[in-house]
Symmetry: C2
Amino acid sequence: MTYDRIAIVGGGLIGASWAALFLAHGAHVAVQDPDPEAEARVARTLAAAWPDLQALGLAEGPVPMERLLVTTDLAEACREAEFVQECGPDRIAVKREIVAALEAHLGAAVPIASSTSSLLASDIQEGAAHPGRVFVAHPFNPPHLIPLVELVAGRATDPEVIEAARAFYGGLGRDVIVVRKEVIGHIANRLSAALYREAVHLVAEGIASVADVDRAVASGPGLRWALMGPHLTYHLGGGDGGFRHYIRHLGPTQAARWAELGSPELTEPVIAQLIAGVDAELDEYAGTDLVRARDAGLIAILQARARQGL
Amino acid sequence: MTYDRIAIVGGGLIGASWAALFLAHGAHVAVQDPDPEAEARVARTLAAAWPDLQALGLAEGPVPMERLLVTTDLAEACREAEFVQECGPDRIAVKREIVAALEAHLGAAVPIASSTSSLLASDIQEGAAHPGRVFVAHPFNPPHLIPLVELVAGRATDPEVIEAARAFYGGLGRDVIVVRKEVIGHIANRLSAALYREAVHLVAEGIASVADVDRAVASGPGLRWALMGPHLTYHLGGGDGGFRHYIRHLGPTQAARWAELGSPELTEPVIAQLIAGVDAELDEYAGTDLVRARDAGLIAILQARARQGL
């Protein structure tokens, strides 16, 4: 499954990064954004993303600007569109307005994928003329480098739309998962939130500094999580007995830790503590372009994974 | 701070991996293990670990077997030891027995670092003749590749012992954090447990399969966590406004997710579900040596981090 003409609603970082990926795949891409400055911003993001996509073997040649349109006009962006990636503000009223506006310009069968991180597909599709084509396709920032795409059907979503989307994003080199039940935060952001809740607890309780919490992740379990998820990690931790051995023998220590985890609140003093901690941590990275370092690091990790069959 | 003669109690995977790291640093290493097979096992682990340490620039030349002693005799292992890394079974009674046995053979000032992942330094040092030298230095598996070392003082630990240990492990190329208050699981395993609790919840509730939860981590936030921890990741997610912008604008969505997180129990049906899920996931990796792939991947990530100043 592929689409030759794709419309993107919203030319922010996420929309522009999707544009890079779709262009690399050979599609014509039309980005709609109410801001007249969006065209220049999208072009800058594309110029920065393209060498990364080339390094990953996902793009060839110069940026195909001739296949890109950036416009303030939704009707123009939707002309001939076969697929829509919606990247508007993450508020339910705005999302429903966007869907209504899109439906005025699209054929009834054109899928509308929302990049929402915090809303449910069922809520977004409510009131749509053709709710069956509305679903969530949630990427991770930056979408052209982080391969995860979480697909979520709403109550009214046509299962065939999800299957077509799975094939489409898979064809873009994405690692696609289909969430089986709608929940707030889908999968990966819930896992991130769970980790972050404990991170805030450790800082708020004076057990570790912000910088030490970050180091504990990035120089510890985070290194392994870039290669395999927690179950597979524990499988290797179980030695010859594998996950069975792990969960039987060390499951009780997991449960003991679960019982000890904190439930912090983001009060003003805690927020102030976190901000001060991040400021102190940033001093350690003075002179490092963190975005560039992260993106170059992500490319190296993805290349290593491909070499190792992971 | 460095030590020329180091004793290791316990020749399992952790002890043997520590041995590789200490040998690479130029120390004489004596490993004590009651199992006569330990010598052969330690030699195998060393042979496997050495090329990895060379790739990371931490070791040169052949494995210096002439600086290694593996013995069943604790007195022999402790002779001339200036530092002890304890890697025995993670049960408090066993740890206290080991400390008592060590004290019979060591000078009063020789530090005793426990690799414990689940016990508290205060509990381990209880009853010791010289409790001030007993502390926790917790590594991540495999210690010669994962740089994190968590140092924790017990109530009676001498602060100078912790400072010396910080310098010692830092000199071994480790990323050292000093935990400010003793808590179950130290820092990194608490963060891992927090993530894993939600992972089990998602599987137990039928929201995602084991394989999809693992994919959500390893192809999503896990990729970023190998490069920087959660605070720094959110700092970049905040764009030009940084962490301040993130926590003010998206803090409420974090809190909303925290309120939704699950509290699963490791009942027999849940354990069976997890085991079946891991079995299914392993089918996807048939033919891949996961330990070798992980270790090669870790080396590539660490090399990329060094290049990027991360």
